[in-house]
């Protein structure tokens, strides 16, 4: 059990993550603008257009991630997603990028390993950046329905950073791992055209640990806004 002393720079990591997300979001805002200009055309095409979404995510760590974090719930999560029709029935394909941040700290916690015990402020955190390609299948509903349930499956990779701090010492793991992410949810149209929709989904991120970093797995609830653009 050896730790390297280093300055605590979590804020820098978080700022970078947010900057990255907003760098991606900026052009999508432009997309929203273009989308609105063609809103009259959307009335006849419903939701069968490319669309992007922005979501707020609450996550519950599972498996070894829960063991590490003491089941701490994450209230810091952002997601963006882009989807487009595949041309096969109602199937959509898309791209998802998320950032989840878990943390758990104890002011006076002890860790024992063999004949050594260490006590101090113990701070555990996990930054997770799941990136996935996904397929989504919206269930058929009547044209007048404002509710549109869907299921999906994403496959991709997660870049993770797992940190254990004891006082001024820290021990880090970071790296890439394989990701599978099944999900289910529903969209709710804000208007008859369905140009802008609210949505809610439940997704399970199953991480597969690598030599560099232990598996990062979680169950997440997302709420957000989806908008068409073309």
């Amino acid at each position: 059990m050896r730790f390297a002393e280093k300055p605590i720079e979590r804020c820098a990591t978080r700022s970078f993550a947010l900057a990255l997300l907003f760098a991606v979001l900026a052009p999508l805002m432009g997309g929203a603008n273009a989308m609105a200009a063609t809103s009259s055309e959307l009335e006849t095409t419903g939701n069968k257009l490319s669309h992007f979404s922005l979501s707020y995510i609450v996550s519950f760590p599972t498996a070894s991630t829960a063991d590490f974090l003491g089941n701490a719930v994450s209230y810091r999560g952002l997601g963006i997603e882009w989807n487009a029709p595949t041309g096969l029935d109602d199937l959509y394909w898309g791209f998802s990028l998320r950032w989840l941040y878990f943390r758990h700290d104890e002011d006076n916690e002890s860790i024992t390993s063999g004949n050594t015990t260490v006590t101090g402020r113990i701070y555990r955190s996990v930054d997770s950046f799941p990136i996935s390609l996904n397929l989504k299948y919206p269930f058929k509903v009547s044209s007048s329905s404002r509710v549109q349930p869907f299921i999906g499956l994403g496959v991709g990779t997660t870049y993770g950073r797992r940190e254990l701090n004891v006082g001024a010492y820290s021990q880090n793991q970071y790296g890439w791992q394989f990701l599978m992410a099944p999900e289910a949810g529903t969209e709710v149209k804000f208007s008859r055209t369905g140009e802008t929709r609210g949505f809610f989904n439940v997704r399970y991120d199953a991480g597969f640990g690598s030599d560099a970093i232990s598996a990062i797995s979680n169950l997440s609830l997302a709420i957000g806004i989806a908008s068409n653009f073309d």
């Binding site: 050896r2 804020c11 947010l18 609105a36 006590t119 001024a168």
Partner: protein, 219 residues
């Protein structure tokens, strides 16, 4: 249209606020760490007496001006350790008897350097005479049996307590074995004297609290 962009921007701003928040320690004592390690085969309940040094040693870089710890703080540190050992059933031996050493010796040092190798140089200066009446100067400090990770990376201001057993010397390596060691990391810094004293007391108390085997009673 504008309302839609405003909605998205508003949501984004909210998310930013949610994501912000400090995780950094908010006070110096949140960086304090207490590490202890012990020799698993040692029977702590068999020890009866202990000896404490007259002052806390200050370990500095080789060649630097010799430094001493504030005498009042030094005595407070020793008294705090004394209280812990007494409460665990041990009796202080102040006889300095040349014929029979106490069951355990307690070495107390403050690190004024991160170069821990100098610890061994200082050992003879501060503690060599502690053991010399029994074993001569050929014997060295016995860190080896006890692994305390923070000894390797102890920061300036750390308090190190090393307990040795002079009655069971390692004749082969000519070492007095260490049976328990603690590093209370970085507690003696530039904070106020009252703050340092409070953190030192809390650190020593924690070191013994997380070592329930260190008692004359059968655990």
């Amino acid at each position: 249209m504008k309302s839609k962009i405003a909605l998205v921007l508003c949501l984004s701003a909210n998310l930013l606020l949610v994501a912000c928040g400090t995780d950094a320690p908010t006070s110096q004592d949140q960086l304090d760490v207490v590490a202890t390690s012990y020799q698993p085969n040692y029977r702590f309940q068999d020890a009866q007496t202990y000896a404490l040094p007259s002052q806390v040693a200050v370990i500095s870089d080789a060649g630097s001006t010799a430094q001493t710890l504030d005498p009042a703080l030094s005595q407070n540190v020793l008294q705090s350790i004394r209280n812990q050992l007494n409460s665990r059933g041990y009796t202080e031996d102040t006889s300095n008897s040349q014929s029979s050493p106490p069951s355990i010796f307690v070495e107390v040092s403050k690190m004024n350097t991160t170069t821990t190798q100098v610890y061994y140089d200082y050992w003879y200066g501060y503690y060599g005479g502690y053991y010399a009446p029994y074993y001569g100067s050929a014997y060295g400090v016995g860190w080896a049996p006890v692994t305390v990770p923070y000894v390797i990376e102890a920061t300036v201001g750390s308090l190190i307590i090393n307990v040795t057993d002079p009655n069971h010397p390692d004749q082969g390596d000519k070492k007095i074995p260490s049976v328990w060691a603690s590093v209370i990391n970085g507690v003696i810094d530039n904070s106020s004297q009252a703050d340092i004293q409070q953190r030192v007391d809390a650190g020593i108390q924690q070191a013994f609290a997380q070592s329930p085997y260190f008692t004359r009673s059968t655990p």
